[in-house]
Amino acid sequence: MSAEPTPAIEVRGLSCSYEDVPVLENVSFCVRPAEIFFIIGGSGCGKTTLLRNLVGLEKPTQGKVLFKGRSFTDADPAERREMLRTFGMLFQSGALWTSLTLSENIGLPLEEYTDLPGDEIREIAAFKLGQVGLSGFEQHYPSEISGGMQKRAGLARALALDPGIVFFDEPSAGLDPVTARNLDVLITQVRDTFGTTIVVVSHDVDSIFGIADRVIMLDRSKRGVIAEGTPTELARAGANPKAVEFLTRRSVRPV
């Protein structure tokens, strides 16, 4: 075990609640560097809440989140900002800033964290947009492009600062199967090219089997992790019945 590298993300005994209702209790897991890690589970099991706790949008009631061994939960504002700089996040809706063009959307993180001149920022933005297949859309506003393109632009923005960790909140939600698979390919490319650690919240079984290295499954009644492993391990007979049911899309328990 001692040979294991420092995990990219370590969650220790995390508990969180939503409006005083406990959602997750005592959740612990590790994400290894350069791994594509999926958080799966049925609706309302706390996947998105867990993700929001990981990126600091919500404060856990108990427990800690560590990035590369440094505590994020107790970090002071300056340290926290420095750690946030190494994150990218693709929101479910893309969450592009509607009042800015795609180029400005991608340029904003660069403007905030670097002293690059304006023309270089625009060049980087165009390059990042090209990486996700959106060349030529620099001057479009988010409302002028389709939902799938908005997600890809959101990914370009998440990648703007060459982050070490990228979080995805239900990347395939609302996309047609082909676009969703293309996004999966993009995710894998990002990992392979930059060695980025990827955390995905999803319930898209095709994505899970397609690209996930490791999976944890959350459950609403247990308020925590009920299974952990590779997708094939979890789908094998003998694993947690809920995980088998989820991954094989078949009911294995009597209704």
């Binding site: 600091g56 949008l57 900002r81 946030l84 700089r85 929101f91 809706s93 800033w97 993180p109």
Partner: protein, 375 residues
Amino acid sequence: MPETLELAPARATARAAEGSLQVDIGGSWRLQDPSPRWHALLGPEKPASVRLASPEVGSWDTSLVVFVGEALVWSRESGIPCDVSALPDKLVGLARQFEGSMQSTERIAHAQSLVVDVGISTRHALRQARGFLQFVGECWIDSTRFVLGKARFRWGDCLLEMQKCGAMALPIVSLISFLVGVTLAYSGSIVLKRFGGEIWVADLIGVAMTREMGALMAAVVLSGRTGAAFAAEIGSMKANEEIDALSVLGISSVRFLVLPRVLALGLMMPLLAMYANCLGILGGMAVAFGTLDIPPAAYWVEMLTIVDMSDVTVGMIKAVAFGLIVGLSGCLRGLQAERNASGVGRAATSAVVTAILLIIVADAVFAVLFHALGL
């Protein structure tokens, strides 16, 4: 025969037979038509057993399922056997489901005791107060950082907001302040005529507009026009996770969204108030000339005998404060909005209410303050 059954109204007849109750169901059962209820059918004395049959039932829907289901629930609760073997299987299956759902329905108490309600409201109020203080604190920190030159400021956004809340508000501010001048002149002249002092309408309007009404009217217009727009804009950004996207990047939403807007209002408001003063005085002048036969020159000269720089300054100070209030309450309500469409609407409404409330309170505080200072 089917046609007559289709047309016949729903009915259920009960007859006693050797201590047991035989219920015959017939007619066509539809939710939109009146149909019998199980409990109305039962007499005062309890039968030993119940048997349901449907010799003449036509088409049926959930209404009949509810009837039979209620019979099953009643049977379970009272312990009286209920024989439904003569009913169609499909109907019995659905009625059993109905019975099951009655069993599993947990009563969630939405109404609580007074103590619990008071507790919840107190916590809510405390949380609101905390949110407000946190917001004010963030604004303070970010604006000092900006003043000290430590933080980037989005001047482009600020200029755009200045155009939206300043230049584009001119028509409505003109109309309203002109009409306020007219109204004040008419009501003032009623009293002043009695003393033969119509000319003092000029003094009345001059003082009222510069000290009070100019800033107040501009603020009320802007709270409805701009404050609500801020809340709706920021609220929908929140619903769309755009605010979260800023936080994940470590960008302060106060610096990015609030400061440019609040500063724009703080800068534009005195200008708008000054403009409103002029239009109000013009409105008074028009009434004085039209109905009181006071020439504009005389009106102007009379007004200058009482209005001086201190009055204008008082108005301008108020205008800056009102501008900040409108901007801050709009942004605060936007950031507090719930993440859905109705949340955005509520945010806009409460932004206007908060802004107007705080403006009136601030106006009263200023009145006392300036009185004490002798301004």
